[in-house]
Amino acid sequence: MTPEPRATILIVDDDEVDVELVVRGLRKRQLSFDVHSANDGCSALALIRSRLSTVFCERLIVLLDLNMPRMNGHEFLSEVRSDSALQHMLVFVLTTSDLKSDTDKAYDRNVAGYFVKSNVNGLLDILGPFADNVQFPVLA
C-alpha cells in the first residue's frame, strides 16, 4: 500500500514539456504528490469542480501557467476567486512572463507565490516543505 500522498498537485499548463519538467522535477526530488494536469483553465476548473469534497480537494496546490489558449491563467484566477467554494484555493503561478503587469495582477488575486519557469527549481525546492507545513484551506 502506497503511503498517503502529502498533497494533490494540479499543473495547469498547455505546454507538455513544461508539465513534464515539473513532473520530472518532483520525481527527482522524490516528493510523493498526487500529480494531475490540465491544459487550460476550463478543463482545470471542470476537474476541480468534479472532485469537490473528495481527497483531491482536501490538500490541493495548483501550479498555474498564465499564457494558455481558451481560458488563460488570469481568467482562471478571476473565476476561482469569485466562486465561494473555490475562493480560498492555494495557487502558485509558474509562467515564462516576468512582466510586472502579470505579477501585479496575479498577487491581486491572492496567489501564494509567483515563479518564472526559468526558476522552476526554486519552486520545486520549496514545494515539499511547504506542503508539509502549510495549513490547507477547506474547499466546499
Binding site: D15, E20, L21, N67
Partner: protein
C-alpha cells in the same frame, strides 16, 4: 458767413441811422442851446437895464453875437428844409432883438446921464438958491409966512426928488404922480415968495430950475419907462418868439429822433430776425455739414474699426476698405493692410506649422505603433520563442539524462551543441527583449549614489581574470532613474572586463566630470582597443567587433546607446593613446528637470 453779412448790413444800417441820430441829437442840442441862450440873453438884458453897467451890456451883446453865430452855422449845416425855415425865422428875430436892445441901451444911457448928472446938478443948484433965499429972507426979516412957504417949498422939492429917485430904483407910477404933486406944491409955495421984492428975482430963477428939474426928472422917468418897455415887452416878445422856434426845433428833433429810433428799432428787429434766421440757417447748415462729415468719416472709421478688430483676432481681410483715400483714414486703412498681410503670413506660417505638427503627430503615431509592435514582438519573443527553445533544451537534456548511456559519443556531443546553441539563442532573445523594452518600462526617479551603484555592479560582475576596477575621483549622488543607469554601467563594465586581454594587469578606470547640466561618466580600459573604423559600428545591433570567442550577443552596446539617448545623454567611444578605449556617456544631472522640460 451769412450771419456776418447780416451783421454787416445791420451795422451799416445802424451806422447810417446812428449818424442821422447824431445829427438829430446835435440839432436838439443846438435848439436847447438857442433856447437857453435866449433866456440868458433876456435875463442879462433885464439885469443890465436895472444896473446900467457896461459890463452887463457887453455880456448881452457877446451872447447875442454867439447866438447869431450858432444860428447862422446851423443854417449853413442844415439840409432839412423844415428845420432850415425854423432856423431862418430865429435868424430873422435876432437882429430885431438887437435893434430893440440898442434902443434900450440908448434909453438907459440917457436915463443914467439924466439921473446921475443933470438931476443932481439941478438939485444942487436949486438947493443953493433956496439957501440964498432963506438967507435973504432971514436977513430981511421977512414974514413967517414967507419963511414958512420957503420951508414948505424945500420940503416938497426934497420929497419930489426922493420919490423920483425911488422910482428910478423901483419904477412905480404912483411915485411919479407924487413927485409931480410935490413939485407943483413946491412951485405954489415958491410963488408966494415972489410977492416979496428982495427974493423976487431969485425966486424966478429957482422957479426955472424947478421947472427944469421937473422936465429932466420926467424925461428920466420917460426913458426908464422906455427901456423897461423895450426890455420887458418888445425884447421879451422877440425872445419868446425865438424860444417858441427853438422849442419847435426841439419838438421836431424829438419827432425825428423817435422816427429814427423806430427805424433803429425796426433795423434792430430786422437784424435780430435776420440774425435769428441766420443762426437757424447756420445751425441747419452745421447739422447738415456735421451729418455729411459723419457720413463721410464714421462709416469708413466703423468699417476700418471692424476690420482692425477682425485683424486683431487674427483674421486675414482681403478687401480693406478706404485704402484709396488720401486722408488719415486712408493711412489707417493702409496700416490695416500691412496688418492684414502680416496676419496672412502668420496664417500661412500657422498652416505650415500645423501641417508639420500633423505630420509629426502622424510620425509619432506611427512610431508609437512601431513601438507597440516592437513590444508585442518582444512579448512574443519572450514567451512564444523562448518557450519552445527552453522545451528543446529540456528535452535534449532529458534524452541525455535518460538515454545517455545508450548513445554514441558523437551523438552526446551533438546534444551538448544543441544545448549550447539553444542557450545562445535564449541570450539573444533576452538581449533583444531588453533592447526592445528600453524606455517602455520606467520607474520612479530616486536618489542614486552612483559610487555605490558602480561598487555593487563590480561585485556582481563575473571577473575570472581579476581585472582591476578603479574609481578615480568621486562619483556623484543625484536624483535619477536607477535601472537604466545601472544597465548602462553593467554593460560597459562587463564589456571592459570581458574583452580585456591583459589578465590581472587589466585596468578599468571609472570617472565622472560635471559638464553643463550633465554628468559625463567615463569607462576607460587598457584592453585590445577598437579600431577607429569600427567606432560607429559598435553601437549597432548584433554587431560584434571584439574577440568572437568571447560569449556575447552584439546587443550590449546597442542597449547602452539606446538607454543613454533615451535619457537625454550622448555616448561616444575613443581610442586611448596607449591602449584600449574610453566610453564616455553623459547623463542628465537632474532627471526631474528633464521631465519637466519634456
Amino acid at each position: 458767413m451769412a450771419i456776418g453779412i447780416i451783421g454787416y448790413s445791420g451795422t451799416t444800417r445802424l451806422d447810417g441811422t446812428s449818424q442821422a441820430m447824431q445829427r438829430v441829437s446835435d440839432l436838439n442840442a443846438v435848439a436847447l442851446e438857442v433856447d437857453r441862450d435866449v433866456q440868458e440873453l433876456q435875463m442879462r438884458a433885464a439885469k443890465y437895464v436895472i444896473s446900467g453897467h457896461d459890463s452887463m451890456r457887453d455880456s448881452v451883446l457877446d451872447l447875442h453875437a454867439k447866438l447869431v453865430l450858432l444860428v447862422n452855422s446851423s443854417i449853413t449845416n442844415q439840409s432839412d428844409p423844415e428845420m432850415l425855415s425854423v432856423f431862418r425865422k430865429i435868424s430873422d428875430h435876432l437882429p430885431e432883438y438887437r435893434t430893440q436892445f440898442d434902443s434900450a441901451i440908448e434909453e438907459r444911457q440917457i436915463r443914467t446921464s439924466l439921473v446921475q448928472q443933470q438931476l443932481p446938478t439941478l438939485s444942487d443948484s436949486i438947493g443953493r438958491r433956496l439957501g440964498e433965499l432963506e438967507q435973504i429972507a432971514f436977513q430981511e426979516k421977512q414974514s413967517p409966512k414967507a419963511r414958512n412957504a420957503l420951508l414948505l417949498c424945500k420940503t416938497a422939492l426934497s420929497r419930489a426928488e426922493q420919490r423920483l429917485l425911488r422910482y428910478y430904483v423901483a419904477p412905480d407910477s404912483t411915485l411919479v404922480d407924487g413927485a409931480l404933486e410935490d413939485i407943483d406944491s413946491a412951485l405954489t409955495h415958491l410963488q408966494t415968495l415972489q410977492e416979496y421984492e428982495p427974493t423976487k428975482q431969485l425966486c424966478a430963477q429957482v422957479l426955472v430950475d424947478i421947472r427944469e428939474f421937473e422936465r429932466i426928472g420926467m424925461r428920466a422917468v420917460q426913458a426908464t419907462r422906455g427901456y423897461l418897455f423895450l426890455v420887458n415887452v418888445v425884447m421879451a416878445g422877440e425872445a419868446a418868439e425865438i424860444s417858441y422856434y427853438s422849442d419847435r426845433l426841439r419838438r421836431m428833433s424829438e419827432s425825428r429822433r423817435s422816427a429814427i429810433a423806430s427805424t433803429v428799432q425796426s433795423t434792430v428787429d430786422g437784424v435780430r430776425q435776420l440774425t435769428g434766421y441766420g443762426i437757424g440757417t447756420s445751425l441747419l447748415l452745421a447739422v447738415f455739414i456735421a451729418a455729411r462729415l459723419v457720413m463721410l468719416i464714421l462709416p469708413p472709421i466703423q468699417s476700418l474699426t471692424s476690420t482692425f478688430q477682425r485683424l486683431a483676432s487674427g483674421e486675414t481681410v482681403v478687401a480693406i476698405p478706404e485704402v484709396e483715400r488720401n486722408d488719415e483714414i486712408g493711412e489707417m486703412a493702409r496700416a490695416a493692410r500691412v496688418f492684414s498681410d502680416q496676419n496672412r503670413q502668420q496664417v500661412q506660417l500657422l498652416a505650415t506649422s500645423e501641417e508639420l505638427g500633423r505630420q509629426l503627430t502622424a510620425n509619432a503615431e506611427n512610431l508609437e505603433k512601431t513601438n507597440a509592435d516592437l513590444n508585442s514582438f518582444a512579448y512574443v519573443a519572450s514567451h512564444d520563442l523562448k518557450s519552445p527553445l527552453r522545451a528543446i533544451r529540456q528535452l535534449a537534456s532529458w534524452i541525455e539524462e535518460d538515454s545517455g548511456h545508450l548513445l554514441p559519443a558523437d551523438s552526446l556531443k551533438h546534444f551538448q551543441t544543441i544545448e549550447a546553441r539553444v542557450h545562445r539563442m535564449e541570450m539573444l532573445l533576452n538581449d533583444l527583449l531588453q533592447y526592445a523594452r528600453v524606455g517602455t518600462t520606467e520607474s520612479e526617479a530616486e536618489r542614486v549614489n552612483s559610487a555605490t551603484l558602480v561598487e555593487d555592479l563590480v561585485g556582481l560582475c563575473d571577473n575570472p581574470l581579476r581585472v582591476q576596477i578603479i574609481v578615480s575621483g568621486s562619483l556623484p549622488i543625484f536624483v535619477t532613474i536607477r535601472t537604466p543607469l545601472e544597465q548602462v554601467f553593467r554593460n560597459l563594465i562587463s564589456n571592459a572586463i570581458k574583452y580585456n586581454d591583459k589578465g590581472d594587469r587589466g585596468i578599468v578606470q571609472i570617472s565622472c566630470e560635471n559638464v553643463d547640466d550633465s554628468f559625463v561618466f567615463k569607462v576607460k580600459d587598457n584592453g585590445p582597443g577598437i579600431s577607429p573604423q569600427h567606432h560607429e559600428r559598435v553601437f549597432q545591433m548584433y554587431q560584434r567587433v571584439g574577440d568572437t570567442n568571447t560569449e556575447g550577443t552584439g546587443m550590449g552596446l546597442a542597449i547602452v546607446k539606446k538607454q543613454v539617448e533615451k535619457h537625454g545623454g550622448r555616448i561616444s567611444v575613443e581610442s586611448n593613446a596607449d591602449a584600449g578605449v574610453t566610453f564616455s556617456f553623459s547623463w542628465p544631472e537632474s532627471f526631474a528637470e528633464r521631465v519637466a522640460e519634456t
